[in-house]
Amino acid sequence: MATSDIQVAEHALQHHFADMEQQRETSTFGMWMFLLTEIMFFGGLFCAYLVYRASYYTAFVEGSQKMNIWLGATNTAVLICSSLTMALGVRAAQMAKPKLMIALLLVTILFGLGFLGIKAVEYHEHWVNHEFPGPNFHFETGDPEHPATDAQHTEIYFSLYWAMTGLHALHMIIGVGLVLWIVLAGLRGAFTPHYYNPVENVGLYWHFVDLVWIYLFPLLYLISKKHGG
């Protein structure tokens, strides 16, 4: 055996760590570092959003009025609930209740899929309304009294909308996959109160992805209800 990971008893202590404590701290620290890089990753998009929102405020207001606030708000609620079940799931793992953990994580997965479904409905709506940037882009406020003042820059709003929510949705898909992996490992009885790092770390990731949405929702959906211009 070279240095592949030797499973030590039921504790899954990897060979290069001195003890479980070191292994646990290390992996949690690693997850936090990873989330830091994720913040920077989304940060580039948020930065672009803020720059353009400041320059083309009216266009952004008009774009945001095309958002279905109810679907967005529902999705926000769904994600908050999923964070709750995720947190309870981690707690269950810690308390040595593997069945409860699996149940809670399955609910989390359902919430995640629900979010993605609702998001898909929204995407479909935007798509048929030509609110996808590119040659087919076409924007009208829908109100003949107030024609679009700055449709050209509203396209930038939609570019950012698709990029930011799309990237977030991709993270959700990965998140659902990770939770599923934990559930499968849980069914095999891989976790004990001494060893549940993976559950904890996937939980951290899930909360992070939720948190990104908590910022995306007001920034993209709730810019201003007043008609700009």
Partner: protein, 543 residues
């Protein structure tokens, strides 16, 4: 000549097991370092080939060797390969990967499987980018400036961007692994103040990898989206701002030069102390200078944009901060020089490269001060002055440090000694060839010769010929080590555990080290570079 290694070779990470699978699925940081060494060496020669083509084209003022489109692809691919696939991974992924666990007294990096994943990502990114190049190439310059890259270029921009995007994650994972390892995996007694400076400087570089790389990733992703779906984030025709691209690009790509140079500085700190047999002068200052460079490095990106149309006041702030980032670099140079004072100096090849590094990095750094100065920058930015400046830092600095490090730790990595005489010759060739190649470019730059020109006015020819002549000397200087390193694998003298009589935990295990690095976890009770208490024995290997 050490005798311990004459008998049956003890088991080490190289002979622990055999077969292609034992390498491709390894999680041993030393083997992954070797995988990286092979891959980035290949990348170095690919990038070097492009460089030679560029220099040959520039022998004559007319664009006669290759077409202008080909030339544009050549300098673009030279930049992409050298920056993203050679310089950024070079010292961290090869020497850092190999040495950081050894230096802190750990059995492996914190996440061995993540480490292997990072090599696969590097390979996937490299193959994607190379495929784009083979299929027709990219002609945007390694900087991918919009709207040229998003709208006007009709080459394989998406392929190259995706390749860099993937390789970026390799860099993030390596950085993450280093940070966690240095925080959590240190052996008992290995306090932060006893940490070798190589670890400090890799730690600082890792911070930049972790915090900066995601930004370039998202930026290049947006470029790819913009080409594929015609979204308009950087397209001025849709009201997008091409300067936003430049801000996001340089937010990573300026700190990226510190990813490249900081680990090199760490190598030099190890070598100068070893061959002077002295504690490093001002340990805390050298260590903190690394961190200061990493932090300040994040605040100077817009000095690439002084003529790009940013506000005068922004330019002023970025100019000031650019001066500040030069100070810690100067502090390091002075400290290395002072380390040699009253030392006991030996001229082995690593030390010769280190001399070269200090001198050339000083020139590179000081010409950076020219560029930080707003009034001068307006004249010389985007000319050969800039080309010369960053090659002095990247090649004169980083590649010199990488070569120094390879020679220094080659006995540890391979278990063999390299031939000292040939190595000294190559160090000399590299130094002479490098200066002949790039010093004329400073003069060209101040005369106003713009960079990325396929053809140039005839009055610039003499200096260009000089530069091309120098580059052929440089090429020989790089081919030599390639040959004798390979030769030494078979015919080199077996290396003792500590051929340089150096301090540092990596020298306290056998050469090459066993798979688990140390037979028992070392306990550190001495300060870093404790040459005072290291017995003074004359080692005659290689003389």
């Amino acid at each position: 000549m050490a005798t311990a290694v004459q008998t049956v070779e003890r088991e080490n990470y190289l002979n622990a097991n055999y077969g292609i699978k034992s390498w491709l699925l390894t999680t041993d940081h030393k083997r992954i370092a070797m995988l990286y060494l092979i891959s980035i060496t290949a990348m170095f020669w690919i990038g070097g080939f492009f460089a030679m083509m560029i220099r040959l084209e520039l022998l004559t003022p007319a664009g006669d060797l290759v077409s202008s489109d080909t030339y544009n692809k050549l300098f673009t691919m030279h930049g992409i390969v050298m920056v993203f696939f050679f310089l950024i991974p070079s010292v961290p992924a090869v020497l850092g990967n190999f040495l950081i666990p050894l230096m802190v007294g750990a059995k492996d990096l914190a996440f061995p499987r993540v480490n292997l994943l990072s090599w696969y990502l590097y390979m996937a990114g490299g193959i994607t980018a190379l495929t784009a190049m083979v299929m027709g190439g990219v002609d945007t310059g390694w900087t991918f400036y919009t709207p040229f890259s998003t709208t006007y270029s009709n080459t394989h921009v998406i392929g190259a961007a995706v390749g860099i995007f993937i390789a970026g994650f390799s860099s993030i994972l390596t950085g993450l692994n280093f940070i966690i390892t240095i925080h959590r995996m240190r052996a008992p007694g290995m306090t932060w103040r006893r940490l070798p400076l190589f670890c400090w400087s890799n730690y600082a570089a890792a911070l930049i990898m972790v915090l900066g790389t995601p930004v370039i990733a998202i930026t290049l992703l947006l470029v790819a989206f913009e080409r594929a779906f015609h979204i308009g984030v950087f397209n001025p025709q849709l009201g997008g701002d091409p300067l936003l691209f430049q801000h996001l690009f340089w937010f990573y790509s300026h700190p990226a030069v510190y990813i490249m140079i900081l680990p090199g500085m760490g190598v030099i700190s190890e070598i100068v102390t070893c061959f002077s047999r002295k504690r490093v002068f001002g340990y805390e200052f050298v260590a903190l200078a690394s961190i200061a460079i990493a932090v300040l490095g994040f605040l100077v990106w817009a000095h690439h944009m002084f003529v790009a149309g940013i506000s005068v006041y922004a330019a002023l702030v970025f100019s000031l901060l650019s001066y500040l980032v030069a100070i810690p670099s100067a502090v390091k140079v002075f400290n290395w020089t002072a380390t040699m004072y009253k030392g006991s100096i030996r001229y082995n090849t690593p030390m010769l490269y280190a001399f070269g590094f200090i001198g050339l990095f000083t020139v590179g750094g000081l010409t950076g001060v020219f560029l930080a100065s707003l009034g001068i920058d307006v004249h010389v930015t985007d000319t050969y002055f800039v080309v010369a400046h960053f090659h002095y830092v990247m090649v004169g600095g980083m590649v010199m440090a990488y070569m120094a490090g390879l020679h220094f730790w080659w006995p540890k990595m391979s278990g063999r000694m390299y031939p000292e005489g040939w190595a000294k010759l190559s160090a000399l060739l590299v130094f002479v060839g490098f200066n002949t190649t790039f010093f004329p470019q400073f003069i060209l730059g101040y005369m106003g010769s713009p960079r990325r020109y396929h053809a140039y006015p005839p009055e610039f020819q003499v200096l260009n010929v000089l530069s091309t002549a120098g580059s052929s000397i440089l090429a020989v200087g790089y081919v030599l080590p390639m040959i004798y390193f390979l030769w030494s694998l078979r015919y080199g003298e077996p290396a003792p555990p500590n051929p340089w009589n150096a301090v540092g935990l990596e020298w306290m295990t056998s050469s090459p080290p066993p798979t688990h690095n140390f037979d028992e976890t070392p306990v550190v009770t001495w300060e870093a570079y404790d040459y005072e208490n290291q017995p003074q024995e004359e080692v005659t290997i290689g003389h």
